[in-house]
């Protein structure tokens, strides 16, 4: 017989040690992770279908950090899966953009005076046509209100006659205005760029100290225009030094002061640039730029970064990434310098240029037109060479005074109060820039300088265009590219699908003089001044080697046109379409299709009688003085409708045409469910070939030939430039959203402007179906960053965050319009789409997800306490009642509850250890485990107590502790056996039940053993100690005097 009672104090000691261990396991760090049920949040278990080879939990975590989930916990699950857990609530896009790219200004499109809508037209409308309907944006125009009814206006590249028109229009709208032009020797108008340092208010304050009446205007982020009439020479001279004293130097700044940072870091281990960038941002140094050099090397640069901050940053990076070597730039050898070009310089172009010079320098943009160029160990001479070379190409600008010959800067003072919006709106109707006859492309290539390029224009057309321009803007300086033997002017056709960037980079790297412009649909213009024969051939061959053979159309022939002029007007497809709509509505003519072809505007329709055709031609002639029409030449072209059902769209067909080798066919237009197409200069055999090929591809088509008297197929050439473009607003955003479906958005449009937009559209394009943009699910936002970014660099982090179908449109130097599908509103969707974007698809079958909101979690905590307390009280009361026939039944209840408390505590301790060593969370399943153990162990305790009860009742004379000891020994066999059988069953499930319930069963196993222990060694002994008064003596010694002696 084992004497359990005699050694009870040793058992108490053991219990105390175990409980201390429990407390230690729960309290000592690391903190015990509470499960979702108690802390709220989101958890996911997932497995990637095809994860990257070296994917680690850390990578997954980095990705979630990029998503803005700073508290995300990621654990490997051991079988190639990951467990993700986060409590973060939803975060906003803007804070994220600021974190990633530095300060941003933004405007959404949700206000009452904003427009954001989808438009669908019944008639076919192309994006270009819709854009044309609104005219081109006014470039470089700055308007600022400087007083009641007083505005400061400046624009570069505006010729005097245009300026006059502008003022006239303003006066027409707002009454007579007093205008003061700048340009006299006593006037000042200058642009200043201080990098990131100055705000408008600060600058204005500083300027006011120098002279009164000066106007400061922010044109783009940190590019300022300072202007004032009749400014004294002293003030003019004092101004810039004063400003520089206040804000630092505004141009070509050296980096070799200790306040600036230029540091190269590298590591042997792979490091992601985004991680470095994030780390830099987390350290609060978002003004430090990270440039990736490849081979795990990065350059960190920043202006005005104190030594202390540089050190902190470096330490943080060394902590975050292993094996970091760092190396500051050697300023004495002059490795680092900053460049600022006055004109817009594309970073790619600049890099290409530097690469071409075979210099080891690196370039990153550091502000508007500011570039940071750095390279290790570049000799003084080489440095000079590089700078000179770059200056040759881009022109190294100093503080340039405003160019008054080609620009305008004036103050308008209206007698009546006029708001800024009024003036901006009025600009909408002024034709600042017009488009030529639709066949010639006009490009802005510099201040006040444009290039006009046209293919197959014919000498007369060219002459009339030139005459029109002269008539409109006065004699202009013209420099024909095609008259000099040393010039290159050629159009290349690669078929659709080519982007301009591809070609421009390629061409520019070959010859700095050569330029490439897209004419749309894979047709490019390549041109350059003063180029010898060999260079020209080399450029063309290189381009073709890169992109495949192209159909070359030399522009040297007299019937083509390629020249640089200043200013232009034009007529658009839309003018013709409007005319067609008028004719349909007013004269009852059948509807015809108008589309752009290289030979002119193409007009075609089915079932148009000869009279109707004539009526149309008469109407077109009324539109313009000289219209040349020529019937479609069917012997050399094709015009017919093909109906493939509804499965083929325009893009598909065009792509297919290219694939089949019919590159020459550009005139393909979708008209309703069928497809209308037509093309010039195709032999009859080729036409046959085409039809067969298309039918092979898309199945049999229903064909309607236009080669019939009642069909109309005609091309029209308009030779008289007619002013037609109707501008609506410079801030209007137009994007294609589907076939004949567009997205349209604008900020701050007063109601009248909105109405005007839609009436214009409806009268131009016919019936509109409109549906509002759903901001809850979609994004529409204009953001302005402090530095120019590439669309791609904005896209990637957004896609990482689960934004989809992103359309990013550059609206200014560092201003972008963002549109796309927002990530799913819930975190699950966000996390999944973000991880899938980074690491490939997730196996849906592996996915487990859990979400608990804060309210539920709070309730869980409360309910857990209630459950544990209610359980204890319930057991106490029941045992009290069941043992009512024994003396002091209450003590049995208390002892039972103490026993189960002990078991619960040990189980909790076991959790604590598992949490520390196995990463297990304490969740509701664990509460189940504790309660199960309580239920089970109280079962054991009751069996023992039942025997004590029986023995006490049967032998009332016996010692209490002897009775207890007897009872314990009598039930020992049963207790051991029960614990064993239960443990065996639990062990079986533990070993074979799989990972999902492994932890749970481990807890149960520990609980079963703890329960057996407490029943035998603890609960009964408490009764003995209580009976002997030990509890009172030990725990409540102050009660000794009042207490009665133990019985």
């Amino acid at each position: 017989m084992i004497d359990f009672v005699r050694y009870r104090k040793w058992f108490y000691l053991l219990t105390a040690i175990l409980l201390m261990g429990t407390v230690a396991a729960l309290v000592l760090p690391p903190r015990i992770p509470w499960g979702l049920e108690f802390s709220s949040g989101t958890s996911l278990t997932l497995k990637f279908v095809d994860p990257p080879d070296d994917l680690t939990s850390q990578d997954v975590r980095s990705q979630l950090l990029a998503l803005g989930l700073a508290d995300a916990v990621v654990q490997g699950t051991g079988n190639g899966g990951y467990f993700v857990r986060t409590e973060s609530v939803e975060d906003d896009l803007l804070p994220f953009l600021e974190l990633t790219f530095g300060p941003v200004q933004s405007s959404d499109f949700e206000g009452a005076s904003d427009v954001a809508t989808f438009l669908s037209f019944i008639d076919p409308v192309s994006e270009q046509e819709l854009r044309d309907a609104f005219g081109e944006n006014v470039q470089g125009l700055v308007i600022s209100q400087v007083g009641d009814g007083s505005l400061f206006i400046s624009v570069e590249g505006l010729a005097q006659p245009e300026l006059a028109t502008l003022i006239d229009t303003f006066e027409d709208m707002f009454g007579p205005a007093e205008s003061i032009a700048f340009g006299g020797t006593a006037d000042l108008a200058v642009t200043l760029d201080f990098g990131l340092e100055a705000t408008l208010e600060e600058l204005q304050q500083e300027v006011d100290q120098v002279a009164d009446g000066l106007v400061v205007v922010l044109t783009e982020t940190n590019l300022f225009v300072v202007g004032g009439a009749e400014v004294s020479a002293e003030a003019k001279e004092a101004l810039v030094p004063a400003l520089e004293a206040r804000f630092g130097r505004s141009k070509k700044a050296s980096y070799d002061s200790s306040g600036n940072m230029a540091l190269q870091i590298s590591s042997d281990d792979p490091i992601d640039a985004v991680d470095v960038q994030n780390e830099v941002r987390f350290q609060g140094s978002s003004d430090v730029t990270v440039l990736e050099l490849g081979d795990n090397s990065f350059i960190l640069v920043g202006e005005n970064v104190e030594q202390e901050r540089q050190d902190t940053l470096l330490t943080a990076i060394e902590d975050r990434f292993d094996n970091i070597q760092s190396e500051p730039f050697d300023f004495d050898a002059g490795d680092v310098f900053a460049l600022d070009f006055g004109e817009a310089v594309d970073i790619e172009t600049l890099r290409t240029e530097v690469a071409r010079l075979e210099s080891a320098a690196f370039i990153i943009p550091s502000g508007d037109n500011d570039f940071f160029i750095a390279g290790k160990d570049i000799a003084q001479d080489d440095r000079e060479t590089l700078l000179t070379a770059l200056e040759d190409v881009f022109g190294l600008a100093d503080r340039t005074p405003f160019d008054f010959d080609n620009g305008a800067a004036l103050t308008l003072r209206f007698t009546d109060p006029v708001s800024l919006t009024d003036v901006v709106d009025s600009l909408a109707v002024i034709p600042i820039r017009e488009v030529l006859a639709g066949r010639a492309e006009v490009q802005l290539i510099g201040p006040g300088t444009f290039r006009v390029i046209g293919v197959s224009l014919g000498p007369e057309t060219q002459e009339s265009i030139l005459a029109g321009i002269d008539q409109r803007v006065g004699e202009t300086q013209k420099d024909r590219l095609d008259q000099d033997a040393d010039d290159l002017a050629i159009a290349l056709d690669f078929g659709p699908g080519f982007t301009r960037t591809d070609l421009v980079i390629q061409v520019n790297s070959l010859d700095p003089n050569a330029e490439a412009e897209s004419l749309g649909d894979g047709v490019f213009f390549i041109g350059g001044d003063d180029m010898d024969e060999d260079t020209r051939e080399a450029v063309l061959e290189a381009v073709e080697a890169e992109f495949g053979p192209a159909r070359r159309v030399s522009l040297d022939a007299p019937e083509h046109m390629a020249l640089i002029v200043v200013f232009e007007p034009g007529i658009t497809v839309n003018d013709l379409r409007t005319e067609v709509t008028n004719q349909v509505e007013n004269e009852g003519l059948p509807s015809v299709v108008v589309t752009l072809s290289r030979a002119g505007l193409f007009v075609g329709g089915t079932d148009v009688t000869q009279e109707e055709q004539d009526a149309y031609l008469a109407a077109f002639e009324g539109l313009s003085d000289s219209v040349e029409t020529q019937p479609f030449d069917f012997s050399a072209g094709t015009a017919l409708t093909l109906d493939f059902g509804e499965t083929v769209n325009e893009e598909q067909l065009k792509a297919e045409l290219v694939e089949l080798g019919f590159n020459e066919i550009r005139l393909v237009t979708l008209v309703g469910p069928g497809i209308f197409m037509g093309a010039h200069d195709i032999s009859a055999a080729r036409q046959e070939e085409l039809l067969t090929a298309l039918e092979d591809r898309f199945g049999l088509a229903q064909q309607t030939s236009f080669h019939d008297p009642e069909f109309m197929a005609v091309t029209i050439s308009l030779e008289d430039p007619v002013r037609a473009a109707e501008a609506v607003s410079e801030s209007l955003i137009v994007q294609k959203a589907g076939p004949n479906s567009f997205f349209l958005a604008a900020n701050d449009q007063p109601l009248e402007a909105q109405i005007q937009i839609f009436s214009t559209l409806e009268s131009t394009f016919g019936t509109i179906f409109q549906s509002d943009y759903n901001f809850a699910k979609n994004l529409a936002l204009t953001v302005t960053f402090t530095q120019p970014l590439s669309a791609e660099s904005i896209r990637l982090p957004l896609e990482d965050r689960g934004y989809q179908d992103l359309v990013i449109e550059q609206r200014g130097e560092s201003t972008y319009f963002l549109r796309g599908k927002r990530p799913p509103a819930d975190q699950k969707g966000k996390i999944i789409s973000s991880l899938e974007a980074a690491f490939g698809p997730i196996d849906p079958e592996s996915l487990e997800f859990s979400f608990v909101d804060a309210e539920i979690a709070r309730r869980s905590v409360v309910n857990t306490f209630i459950a544990v307390i209610a359980g204890s009280v319930g057991i106490l009361i029941y045992v009290w009642w069941a043992f009512r026939r024994t003396p002091k039944p209450f003590r049995f209840g208390v002892a039972a509850v103490v026993g189960l408390g002990h078991d619960a505590a040990l189980v909790l301790g076991a959790f604590g250890l598992m949490a520390k060593f196995r990463g297990v969370e304490i969740d509701s399943l664990m509460i189940v485990g504790i309660l199960a153990v309580i239920g089970y162990s109280v079962n054991n305790t009751i069996v023992v107590m039942d025997r004590i009860r029986e023995n006490l009742i049967r032998n009332p004379g016996r010692d209490f502790d002897t009775a207890v000891n007897f009872s314990l020994n009598e039930t020992l066999s049963r207790n051991v056996n029960t614990a064993l059988t239960t443990a065996v069953a639990v062990l079986a499930v533990l070993l074979f039940g799989g990972p999902t319930i492994f932890n749970f069963m481990l807890v149960l196993l520990i609980g079963v053993l703890a329960g057996a222990y407490s029943s035998l060694f603890l609960a009964a002994n408490i009764l003995v100690s209580w009976e002997k008064g030990e509890i009172r003596r030990t725990l409540f010694p102050f009660l000794r005097r009042d207490a009665t002696a133990p019985r």
Binding site: M1, E37, F118, G672, P673, Q754, I755, F758, S759, E762, T767, F769, Q770, S771, D772, K828, P844, E845, E848, F849, V852, I856, T864, A867, G871, S924, L925, V928, L931, G935, V938, N939, I942, V943, D946, R949, E950, N951, N955, N969, E970, L972, S973, R974, T978, L980, T981, T982, A983, V984, A985, V986, A988, V989, F992, G993, T996, I997, F1000, V1008
Partner: protein, 452 residues
């Protein structure tokens, strides 16, 4: 003779076991309108989401002041939406004053389902505040459109006046996804008045305060209308939602748990094997240790297992992973009752009683211990049940319910089945060999037989 004496008890046991086994061996069965079982689960038991995969969702009304009728309406509409969505055996249950539990077993597109359930889908029609607007684009603002409904009362036209016949179709001319809806009698009369009044003016169709389309009224229409400009998927969901009706109050997800089907199936297979192994080991132990009574307890454990599983199937109780764990523990407890009895019997035998007397005394004396220990466990399990219900946590409820059923069944089998079987043995030739009932050596207290 002994058999005849206890034939009633034996008959009850045989009938019970027979019923249990037959109900388990039939995958599905129905008596009248009473259907039980399922074709795709072992023994036709109903499986919880963690074993067959699926989604457990708890929705809460956004407005804390929500009334009881509104919540009832929400539950009904969710049920209708889910039924049209095609989920087999969904569970929609109200919980507390403002929550609804939705369980969707074996569902593949959870996001779509959530969108379908959670969307308020309040459709209404509006006219432009500017009577001269001829197009939605030129409309400065919208106001609800009203017309005379039944009884000459001026009413606002909303989705409440639709027949449950909305459908997603492809527009014959544009081929775009279009949701076509049909007004009921009153709605049609109202729509006719409205379209007559709004000739040449836009009619805004708003879903949850968001304009989905705004066609210009071309002709007087009464019966049908359509919504364009939505995606195929949204259109499908919208049609279902329109047919089921709008939710009276907006709701949102406060608890979500998704388990993939393969993971569930894997857990199920594993836990079956584990439970079987556990049961086998326990039975082996009992036979080796307690000999003939051990054999009896194995039989009784078999009866116990059959009855518990049958009860699960008949009630039906949803079997969860934690339920299987509870079952394993309950095996230990069921054995425990037998162990208590056998230990008692052994004491009685050692104190010199006959086998028959030992059995009867053993049972009588063991009863109090068995009762008290099981009642305390039942108390904790009922509390656990309440806890799980509060938490909306099916795993906890599964555990508690399983253990409650198992404890009640184990008390019955220990007291009734084991006892009857042992009584039968008393009159068998085995009864003479006491050593088969009392092992000569064993663990624990065998050396001291203390009779009291």
């Amino acid at each position: 003779m002994g058999f005849r004496k206890y034939r009633l008890q034996v008959a009850v046991i045989i009938i019970l076991v027979g019923l249990a086994i037959s109900s388990l061996s039939l995958q599905t069965f129905s008596i009248g309108s009473w259907d039980r079982g399922s074709d795709d689960s072992p023994l036709g038991l109903r499986l919880g989401l963690d074993l067959q995969g699926g989604t457990h969702l708890v929705y809460r009304a956004d407005d804390p002041q929500v009334t009881d009728e509104q919540m009832e309406g929400v539950a009904n509409i969710i049920e209708r939406r889910i039924n049209s969505f095609g989920v087999s055996e969904p569970l929609i249950q109200r919980k507390g004053g403002n929550e609804i539990v939705v369980q969707l077993p074996g569902i593949s597109d959870i996001e779509e389902a959530k969108e379908l359930i959670g969307g308020t889908a309040l459709l209404d029609f509006r006219e432009c505040i500017d009577p001269n607007a001829t197009n939605a684009g030129v409309c400065p603002g919208w106001q609800p459109v009203t017309a005379q409904g039944s009884g000459g009362v001026e009413k606002q036209l909303t989705g409440a006046f639709l027949r449950p016949t909305s459908a997603l179709v492809a527009d014959p001319t544009t081929g775009l996804p279009t949701v076509r809806f049909e007004f009921n009698g009153e709605g049609a009369r109202m729509f006719e008045q409205i379209t007559r009044r709004l000739q040449g003016r836009p009619l805004g169709i708003f879903l949850d305060d968001q304009m989905v389309s705004a066609p210009v009224v071309q002709a007087v229409i009464s019966q049908t209308g359509q919504i364009t400009g939505i995606s195929q998927r949204d259109g499908r969901l919208l049609a279902i939602q329109l047919n089921a009706g709008a939710l009276p109050v907006p709701i949102s997800v406060v608890r979500e748990q998704d388990v993939s089907a393969t993971l569930g199936r894997d857990s199920l297979d594993r836990s079956y094997v584990a439970a079987a192994i556990g049961l086998g080991l326990v039975m082996l132990f009992m036979v080796l240790y307690y000999r003939v009574p051990g054999l009896v307890s194995v039989l009784s454990l078999g009866v116990y297992t059959a009855i518990v599983l049958a009860v699960f199937k008949l009630i039906p109780v949803t079997l969860t992973l934690s339920g299987i764990a509870a079952f394993v523990i309950s095996v230990g407890m069921a054995v425990d009752a037998n162990v208590i009895i056998f230990e008692r019997m052994r004491e009685e035998l050692r104190s010199g009683r006959t086998l028959g007397a030992a059995i009867e005394t053993g049972f009588d004396r063991a009863w109090a211990a068995i009762r008290d220990s099981n009642v305390t466990t039942l108390i904790t399990m009922f509390i656990l049940w309440w806890f799980g219900d509060q938490l909306g946590e099916p795993r906890i409820i599964g555990f508690a319910v399983t253990l409650i059923i198992a404890i009640l069944t184990s008390m019955f089998t220990a007291i009734f089945v084991t006892r009857t079987l042992l009584r039968l043995l008393v009159n068998s030739p085995l009864a003479g060999r006491v050593h088969l009932f009392v092992p000569l050596r064993g663990g624990g207290s065998t050396r001291t037989a203390v009779g009291l």
